[in-house]
Symmetry: C2
Subunit: 217 residues, 2 copies
């Protein structure tokens, strides 16, 4: 079998880089707008806060995080789609899809001492914002209001996960697929079906049959 070639030949790397920078500047402008909605924030505050956040753009298939990595960062998806998966007995078990606006809060118990148990891989061309825990703490010290906001976001996110777990427990694969259709229909067009199957907790063959069953009804 031939080796898998994933090499993307960048003909002019400087051109490519400058385009990416333009893209990143546009995003920073968006983030500036976002920060400026906070009443107590001066122009200088905004600039300082933005300094602490970095941006990264990845291609389809590239990894943001791998099993065993030591990472103490939080990510937020600006555009694109990131898949979280575990490698169990050589099999990829997908456990979540993050899309625009969603955040990945401090994986690994937020500690640089605990290795990651899972992978974060880009389903498509993706841009994320990144902030290290260190810089986040710095930011919270400077702008305590952000700590409150962060706590609220965390609590909401915790609630989301509690509901997701509850939904997962109380539904069967067919219902889960219908829920996906209802609440995250865009995923069906963005993500290969075998990854969705894994996310729904069934084999690709089963998902194929579930789809057929639904279609026949």
């Amino acid at each position: 079998m031939l080796p898998k070639k994933k090499v993307v030949i960048v003909k002019d790397s400087s051109e490519h880089n400058s385009k990416r920078l333009e893209h990143h500047e546009a995003i920073k402008a968006e983030m500036r707008k976002c920060f400026s909605t906070i009443d107590s924030f001066s122009e200088k505050d905004i600039a300082e806060a933005l300094e602490l956040i970095s941006l990264k753009t990845l291609k389809k298939g590239e990894h943001l995080l791998r099993e065993g990595d030591f990472s103490a960062r939080s990510y937020s998806i600006i555009s694109g789609c990131v898949r979280q998966y575990y490698l169990v007995d050589g099999e990829e078990k997908t456990t979540f899809f993050y899309t625009e606006g969603q955040s990945i809060f401090a994986p690994n118990g937020a500690s640089e001492r605990i290795p990651s148990k899972y992978y974060l891989s880009c389903v498509e061309h993706t841009t994320v914002s990144i902030i290290s825990l260190e810089k986040q703490n710095e930011m919270f010290k400077k702008f305590p209001i952000l700590e409150s906001m962060s706590r609220n976001t965390l609590r909401e996110e915790l609630n989301n996960y509690q509901e997701m777990l509850a939904t997962y427990i109380t539904t069967n694969p067919e219902e889960r697929y219908l829920n996906l259709l209802k609440f995250r229909a865009e995923l069906l067009n963005r993500v290969p079906q075998y990854q969705l199957a894994s996310y729904l907790g069934v084999t690709p063959e089963s998902l194929s049959r579930i789809r057929k069953r639904i279609f026949l009804k």
Copy 2:
């Protein structure tokens, strides 16, 4: 076989009340110890913080929260066991068991405006600490360090839930039962099997068969 007597006969309710108060005082003393491990906390701070927290003791089968309730509180289990369940088509679907030391963070998206979708019911005689969101905010204003601590706890809890969801997705009912045996074995003796079955996402009949299958191996 002789019946197991768990009956606690309360002859005199005033006596009962005074006993409960003693019990609660003992718990407050424990909590005082806990707060006193925070360096920056003076005796007065501890007393003030404790003022904001209330205790409640419930009997087996009593509810802490019902579907439709408007609640803006966080709970922490001091002793006992609380079951979270949803009522779906008249059927109780158990989605979590909280035991000693575990906290129930701000159900209902932490808003007094959103009705609860689930029930919290005591599996056994249970004591919980309760703090309203209002008083929690008051406390955080007075003692900012508690806000940081709370944020960290929330992040850890979020991580726990992410892992629980991932585990649920990547395992089948038999594996989930084995996991329960491994990590929360005490639950098997505290919780009726049909509630565990629901928590594992199967019918009581299936759990019975799973147990038999495992036993025969």
